[in-house]
């Protein structure tokens, strides 16, 4: 059977690549060092493939047909799709077999994902991989959650999805080593009058609840308080999915800093799955 070798989560923002100089050198170096540590941890897991849980920022999907969940099943993924993102063009190899397996298992488990065999990935996937220094090293299976346009899947549903994902990975035939990386959040506002405000209290409470083991309280807090953390904080759904995939493993925050001039609470965390 396959082995889940690591579960991680990290904030993403294109600002880290587009306007890195918007914060002092020392602060930027600390953030980038934290992402390098994430890269080292991921590399240390020796994954054959990384299931990257993120959101499409209205590049592949539009309001004419917007999936709540979408599993990628393509042999490769060009990135980035944004012509304005300051990142080198690259192609991430995919894993069609794992993508197809997760799709079929999800449907069999009464989830109803869309699937895509032609995604061009955006900064949500690329930025953490780029800053972690592993863009050229990983095969990916993207799972995209709608975090960018109401109406949204509920926070509880995202946790349920995560639990399904963890169980499905454990049942995957063969001996693949599979890691999970969630990217999104934490508190931030995109194109609202609050842009630039970061709600550190929300972020720290959310991170504490991930570590608490009280999943009901976690979901309740995320549901009831996300509006205090900004529209970008809707991306905490990706963290909930990773939390479910870790199936009760202990979460620990690896790094947190409220970075107002990058408009985002920058968090990095990992679940101790005993590898």
């Amino acid at each position: 059977m396959a082995e889940l070798v690591g579960v991680f989560a990290a904030s993403h923002t294109p600002v880290m690549l587009n306007f890195p100089d918007a914060i002092p050198d020392q602060e930027r170096a600390a953030v980038f060092d934290a992402f390098q540590s994430l890269g080292a941890a991921l590399r240390g897991c020796r994954p054959d493939v990384v299931v990257v849980i993120s959101d499409d920022h209205l590049h592949n999907f539009f309001l004419d047909n917007f999936p709540a969940f979408c599993i990628g099943a393509a042999p490769q993924y060009a990135t980035p799709i944004e012509h304005w993102l300051k990142a080198p063009k690259s192609v991430l190899p995919g894993d069609t077999a794992l993508g197809a397996y997760l799709l079929q298992e999800a449907l069999a488990a009464d989830f109803d994902p869309a699937f895509s065999m032609d995604l061009t990935l955006d900064h949500g996937v690329l930025t953490p991989l780029e800053l972690a220094g592993i863009t050229s090293e990983v095969h990916v299976v993207p799972i995209m959650i709608n975090c960018v346009q109401p109406p949204f899947p509920s926070m509880r549903r995202c946790l349920q999805w995560g639990r399904f994902l963890g169980e499905a990975i454990a049942r995957y035939p063969g001996n693949a080593r599979i890691a999970v990386l969630a990217t999104g959040g934490l508190s931030h506002d995109i194109a609202t009058p609050r842009m630039g405000l970061v709600n550190e209290d929300f972020d720290r409470r959310f991170l504490d609840l991930l570590a608490s083991g009280d999943d009901d309280a976690l979901v309740r807090y995320a549901t009831d308080h996300v509006h205090e953390a900004g529209n970008g904080a809707e991306e905490i759904r990706t963290w909930l999915l990773a939390h479910g995939a870790a199936r009760g493993a202990q979460f620990a925050t690896q790094y947190y800093k409220a970075v107002g001039n990058w408009y985002t609470g920058i968090g990095i965390g990992a679940w101790d799955i005993g590898q």
Binding site: E82, P150, I190, P193, L197
Partner: protein, 101 residues
């Protein structure tokens, strides 16, 4: 709707604002046509003239209030090389609740 979003479901006007912002940055040649003449580009879009003018004049705050998707607004700003300070100023000019919560 209070909180993070203007609408719990996009209005038809919001859809068409988003349609323009999306196409300008995803359809081949649309950005060039838009930059050549925004008025001509917007001519057949089924939006009130006030919202067409808001798009043309980069009235980001007004577009936010109209329910434009924030990620498309943000991408539009970056894609047009709109000065960051102007983008933020336009948004903050329409602020009613400057703080979270």
């Amino acid at each position: 709707m209070s909180g993070n979003w203007q609408h719990g479901m996009p209005t038809p006007d919001a859809y068409w604002i988003d349609r323009v912002l999306y196409d300008v940055h995803h359809q081949p040649d649309d950005l060039a046509r838009y930059l050549k003449s925004a008025d001509a580009y917007l001519k057949d879009i089924p939006l009130p003239d006030t919202l067409k003018a808001a798009i043309r004049d980069n009235e980001i705050g007004d577009l936010y209030l109209a329910g434009a998707n924030p990620y498309l607004l943000r991408a539009h700003c970056l894609g047009l090389r709109m000065p960051e300070a102007d983008f933020l100023r336009s948004l903050r000019a329409v602020a009613k609740e400057p703080d979270h919560g």
